[in-house]
Each structure stands twice: as structure tokens, then as C-alpha cells.
Amino acid sequence: MKETSLQAGLILAGILFCLGLLSLLIRRNFIFMLLSVEIMLNAAGLAFVLAGARWGQPDGQVMFLFILAMAAAEVSVGLALILQLYHQLKSTDSDAATRLKDEP
């Protein structure tokens, strides 16, 4: 195998993470926000796997496995919550869910 360095991969992970973050901040739709979170999780997992490959150990991949499991659980619960929110608010606008606003 050829020799390569970690930096390019990490930068890729960083770019993907920041794109996901950008999307999270901009979007108002619940489902798009969930999607953005998935992008960010995936980017973090990429960083883990790259790090594991750098040291030649399976630890990074194991981490990614856990991230995967966690993402699965989170998506299912998150979608159930979005379902309830949709039935309560009759829309998928996150700006409609401001009941916890502090009234001065």
C-alpha cells in the first residue's frame, strides 16, 4: 500500500462536519435538521475510522460501529418525536415549537 498522511482525510471530515453544522443552523424543517445531524455524525465517524487506520488498530472501526448503533437509535426516537410534534403543531416548522420561551 502506498504511504499516505492523515491530514487530507481529517480535513475532509472537518469540511463535512462544518457543512452539516451550517445546514443545521439554517434549516427550519425538523427533518432537515435531523438530516444535518446525520451528516455531522457521519463526518465524526469518518474521523474515527481514519484515526484507527493511522495506527493500524481496529479501535477506530469499533468506535464507528458504536456511532452507527447510536445514530440508528437516535433516528428512530427522533422520528417518533417529530411525528408527535407534527401532530401537535400541524407543521414541521421548528419555529412553531417555542413554548419554552422565557416571557420577560
Partner: protein
């Protein structure tokens, strides 16, 4: 003996204590038993102790009940000091108190707070006994404040009417001003003499200060301030007429016979301090004379029967102050002794009248009652005669005459004071018999509702007898020179030597008699015969002006409102929003502003929260990077 003495104040306190817890549950009979029984037992104990004193007037008993304060030089115990002066006062308090309690069982019948009334009255009698039996000034002050409290409780007894509460507060606040002066006097006494024990003070004072020394004059002045407050003399006399808002037995006991004489007791007790300050003695006498004239004028034009008696009390205590001021100690106490009987009698009689007229107190609405309630009429006239000092046959004559005689010819006499006293005697007779004629003579305007029962008639009768015969124990020089009373007191209070001829004494007595009869005559002309000349006089502009002025008690209330109350309220309104307050409100305001700003960050928007997390992360990362920079190349 010691146990008996301890029982004298104990029984009333015990009565009050027993009456308080079950106030709602006791039957009226039980309340009567506890309320009157405690005072009656106390009176019996006083009589038994007094019997020993009658046999040995020079006796002095000190009973230490228990320790109270032992702090360095301040050694004040709960100790009672009984001598002739205190036993005299204790006798009046318990005996007249017991009679008034019996009267009150019928007067206050049917009132829903029956037990509370007797509890407060018992508490009052207990506190007053502590005052007169106290061995040190601190315990005296405790009793002093106690009677002030009970006065407040009893004036505002019918608390549901806010006017009664206002009168009670006025009484408390005005006497408090005097109490503060007295407290300062106590501080000064302790500072200079290192003791508050009365006997100790009297011993050390003469050695410490020469006559007229500034310190002792100041102390005497402050003590006078306290006495003036409690005894409703100038300038603190405004509370007593308002205090008539309380039930009549309260007015009889507290504001006639006992509490208002506490000032007289204080001055008599600490007579050595006053003798060391002749300026203050002159002041005492002057206050006495001016007050008795002012109050006499005010009593002349009142419509309410109880207000007449209130101003009359102020006036008679003015006589006692006059006596104290000219050094006639025995005469002052003798006047207190007789005054207690006839003033209580007058108040109780007025109460019987008020009850019969179904709580009507305006004299101009009464009339012709001597045919309706002849028993009450006879007792009332006896009391009125004693008050007016009807010559030779009433106790009031002998006590008032003693004062006037000593004001004219005593060692510190002053003719001006004597003339004031004579004028006051004329006014007293005038307003007293005006009261009698308006209430009992003339056409009957109302029908009687309530005829007095035995509980009212018995105390009235006993007091009537006493009002007449109590004077015969002290007869002046030219009439047999009976000195039973002053002989009793001579070991406690110095005797007043008089060097004047007997003929002068006859002249003095004649002049007092003339004043009294003149007063009665004018009252008869005005209110029974309705002579037209006098009627025209009372309708003139000047007379009307003075009538209105005197009805308001010489407008002292308005004066104090203008000089003291309004500036004080204005000052407090000003101080409510001054600079230090702004500092505190500023702190509060800043906090609220900060709250609003921070609350603005809780928008409830999900994106906003994510943004804030991101900003935080970026800041932390920047901080770490800046920290790492020097270590990396």
C-alpha cells in the same frame, strides 16, 4: 407578712392568666368569680398588710421575690418595697379596683368579650401594683409600661370601631413620649449613681449633688416629662379626653383613680431629687396650675358627660401637681386619696346614667333623671359635691383646702399659684353642677331602659360614704388639727411646716367656700333658672368663640398636628425616596434589567440554541489555540 405582700400583685396576675386561655369557653359566672375574686383577694391582703402599717406607720418591708438582672453595677431584682406611701396607693388601687370590678360585672354584661375585659383589667391592676410596690426604678418602669399597655388594650376594647383604635393609639403614643423622657432620666441616674434602687438613689442623691446642680435639675426635668405624659398634664394632656372611647369602668379605674396618678406617685417617691431642684418644683406647680385652669375651661363647654369628667380629672391632677410643686407632699397624696373615691363615684354614676339612657352620652339629651333613678342621683350629687369641694361636709373640701392653704402660706408658696387654684375651684364647682343640673334636673327627654341592679348600686353606695367621710381623717389646724393621714405618711414624705396665724387659715377657707358656692350658684342660674342676662352673655360672639375653642380642648390637637405631625409626615415622605433609597432601588433595577437581557436569550428557537452552542465551541477552541500558540513552532 412577706407572703401576704407577695400575694398583693400575684392575685391579679393570676386572675389575668386564668382568664386568658379559656376566654371563649368560660361561663359569665366563672368570669365574674375569677375577675372580681382576684382583685377582692388582693384587697383583703392589702387590708391585712395595711393593718400592720396602721399600728406601726414607720414600718418598711422589703420583699425580694426573685432575681431579675444582675449585670455589673446594675442589680435590679423583682423586689417589692412596702412603706406607708405604697400601701396607701395599693389600698386605693385594690379597694377601688375591686368595687369597679363588681360594677363592671353588670355594666359589661352581655358583651361577647366579657372574659377578655376582665383579663385586661386584672392585668392592669397587677401592673399598677407592681408600679407602686417596686423597689427599684427598673421594676417601676416595667409597671409603668404595663399600665400603658393595658390602657391601650382597654381604650380600644371595642376594636371593631376604628375610632376606638385611633384613640387607643393616640393615648399610647403620647404617653410614650413621656416614657422616653423618663427612660433617659433612668439612664442618667444609673450613670451618675450606679444604682436604680429607689432607697439607694434617695440616699446617694443628696451626697452627690448640691441643690440646683445642673445634672439633678436635668434628671428631675426628665422625670417630670414622664409624669406629665402619664398624668395627662400640659403639654401631653391631649390623650385623656379621647380615651373616653373605652368602656366606663375602664375610664373610672384607669383614667380617674389609678393610672393617671402614676405621675404623682413618681414625683412623690423621688421627692428628694425634686427638692434638690427648686426650679423644677416651680415648674411642676406652674404646670399644675395652668393645666387645672385650661382643663377647667374645657370642661365647662363639653356636651359628653364622660368628657366633662375626663377634663375634670386632668384638672384635679393639676391640683395634685400644684401641691407637689409647692412641697405639700402630704396634701397631694391626700387629694389623690379623696379624688380616687369621688372621681370613681362620678364615673360609675355616669356609667349608670349612660346605661339607663341606652348608651346616650350627650348631656343635652338627658334630663329629669332625678325622679327616674333617685338612688343614682343621690350618689352622683354626693360625688359632685366632693368634687366641687362643698365646704366642711365633703372629703374634697378638706383635701383641696389643704392644697390651697399650703400654696398660699407654705414654705415655697406663691400667691399667683394660690389665686389660680381659687379660680380653678370656682370653675370646678361651675362645671360640676352644670353637669348635675343638665343630667338630672329639667324636663325628662328620654325614657329609662335599664334600671341599675345591685352590682351597680352597691359600689356606688360604698363610694358615696367614702367620698363624704374620707376627708375627716385630716382636718386643718383651726378645725381640730386631726393629722391621721399625714401622720401615717410622715416617715416617707417630709411634713410641710406652716407658720401662719389661724385667722389667715379661716380667711383661706372662707375664700374657697365662696368660690365653690359661687360656682354652684352660677350653674343654677344658667341651667335651672335660665336667667336671661347670663343667657345673653353666653350668646355673645366672644363667648361663642371661646366655647368652640374650649370644646376642642384649647385646640391643642390642631396645634400639635400643625407643629409636629405635618412636618414629620412631610419629612418621612421626603425621606422615602432619598439618595440611599435610590441606591437600593438602583441595585434592584439593575438586577431586573439584567434579568430581562438574559431572558431574551431564551427564545425557544431550536436554531438559536444550536447557534449559541456553536459560538461557545468556537470561543473555547479559539482560547485553546491561543493558548497553544507559543508552544508550537
Amino acid at each position: 407578712m412577706n407572703a401576704l405582700i407577695a400575694c398583693i400583685p400575684l392575685f391579679p396576675f393570676l386572675g389575668a392568666l386564668l382568664l386568658v386561655p379559656g376566654a371563649r369557653h368560660y361561663s359569665p359566672g366563672l368570669v365574674k368569680l375569677l375577675g372580681c375574686g382576684s382583685i377582692a383577694l388582693s384587697a383583703i391582703c392589702t387590708l391585712m398588710v395595711g393593718w400592720s402599717f396602721l399600728q406601726q406607720p414607720a414600718l418598711v418591708v422589703n420583699v425580694q421575690l426573685w432575681n431579675w438582672i444582675r449585670s455589673g453595677a446594675l442589680q435590679a431584682g423583682f423586689s417589692l418595697h412596702v412603706d406607708a406611701l405604697s400601701i396607701t396607693f395599693a389600698f386605693i388601687i385594690t379597694f377601688v379596683g375591686a368595687l369597679i370590678h363588681i360594677y363592671a360585672t353588670e355594666y359589661m354584661q352581655g358583651d361577647e368579650d366579657y372574659a377578655r375585659f376582665f383579663a385586661c383589667m386584672n392585668l392592669f391592676v397587677g401592673a399598677m401594683l407592681l408600679l407602686v410596690l417596686a423597689d427599684n426604678l427598673l421594676l417601676l418602669y416595667l409597671g409603668w409600661e404595663g399600665v400603658g399597655l393595658c390602657s391601650y388594650l382597654l381604650i380600644g376594647f371595642w376594636y371593631k370601631d376604628p375610632a376606638n383604635g385611633a384613640a387607643a393609639r393616640k393615648a399610647f403614643i403620647v404617653t410614650r413620649i413621656g416614657d422616653t423622657a423618663m427612660a433617659v432620666a433612668l439612664f442618667m441616674l444609673f450613670y451618675h449613681l450606679q444604682t436604680l434602687n429607689i432607697a439607694g438613689i434617695l440616699q446617694l442623691a443628696a451626697a452627690q449633688w448640691s441643690t440646683g446642680h445642673t445634672t439633678v435639675v436635668l434628671i428631675a426635668l426628665l422625670l417630670l416629662g414622664g409624669a406629665v405624659g402619664k398624668s395627662a398634664q400640659l403639654p401631653l394632656q391631649t390623650w385623656l379626653p379621647d380615651a373616653m372611647a373605652g368602656p366606663t369602668p375602664v375610664s373610672a379605674l384607669i383614667h380617674a383613680a389609678t393610672m393617671v396618678t402614676a405621675g404623682v406617685y413618681l414625683i412623690a417617691r423621688l421627692h428628694l431629687l425634686f427638692e434638690l431642684s427648686p426650679q423644677v418644683m416651680l415648674l411642676v406647680a406652674s404646670i399644675g396650675v395652668i393645666t387645672l385652669l385650661l382643663a377647667g375651661c374645657s370642661a365647662l363647654v363639653q356636651r359628653d358627660i364622660k368628657k366633662v369628667l375626663a377634663y375634670s380629672t386632668i384638672s384635679q391632677i393639676g391640683y395634685m401637681f400644684l401641691a407637689l410643686g409647692v412641697g405639700a407632699w402630704h396634701a397631694a397624696i391626700f387629694h389623690f386619696f379623696t379624688h380616687a373615691f369621688f372621681k370613681a363615684l362620678l364615673f360609675l354614676g355616669a356609667g349608670a346614667v349612660i346605661l339607663a339612657m341606652h348608651h346616650e352620652q350627650d348631656m343635652f339629651k338627658m334630663g329629669g333623671l332625678r325622679k327616674q333613678v333617685p338612688g343614682v342621683y343621690r350618689c352622683f350629687v354626693a360625688g359632685a359635691a366632693a368634687l366641687a369641694a362643698l365646704p366642711y361636709i365633703t372629703s374634697g373640701f378638706y383635701s383641696k383646702d389643704a392644697i390651697l392653704w399650703l400654696a398660699w402660706q407654705g414654705p415655697q408658696a406663691n400667691t399667683l399659684l394660690w389665686i389660680g387654684g381659687l379660680l380653678g375651684a370656682f370653675l370646678t364647682a361651675l362645671y360640676t353642677f352644670r353637669m348635675v343640673f343638665l343630667t338630672f334636673w329639667g324636663p325628662q327627654q328620654h325614657h329609662i331602659h335599664h334600671y341599675p341592679g345591685i352590682s351597680i348600686r352597691l359600689p356606688l353606695s360604698i363610694l358615696t360614704v367614702l367620698a363624704i367621710v374620707a376627708g375627716f381623717i385630716e382636718l386643718p389646724h383651726n378645725l381640730g388639727h386631726v393629722t391621721l393621714f399625714s401622720g401615717f405618711l410622715q416617715n416617707v414624705l417630709p411634713a410641710t411646716g406652716v407658720h401662719a396665724s389661724s385667722s389667715l387659715e379661716w380667711i383661706a377657707q372662707l375664700l374657697s367656700a365662696v368660690c365653690c358656692l359661687a360656682g354652684i350658684g352660677v350653674a343654677y342660674l344658667l341651667y335651672v333658672k335660665a336667667s336671661p342676662a347670663l343667657e345673653r352673655f353666653t350668646q355673645t360672639g366672644l363667648a361663642q368663640y371661646f366655647t368652640r375653642l374650649w370644646q376642642k380642648g384649647w385646640a391643642f390637637d390642631e396645634l400639635y398636628d400643625l407643629l409636629i405631625v405635618r412636618p414629620f409626615m412631610a419629612l418621612s415622605r421626603l425621606l422615602r425616596k432619598d439618595a440611599p433609597d435610590k441606591l437600593y432601588t438602583l441595585l434592584g433595577g439593575i438586577t431586573i434589567k439584567a434579568h430581562h437581557i438574559l431572558a431574551g436569550t431564551q427564545k425557544g428557537l431550536l436554531r438559536w440554541y444550536v447557534l449559541s452552542v456553536l459560538i461557545g465551541a468556537v470561543l473555547i477552541l479559539t482560547a485553546i489555540l491561543l493558548h497553544l500558540k507559543p508552544t508550537t513552532t
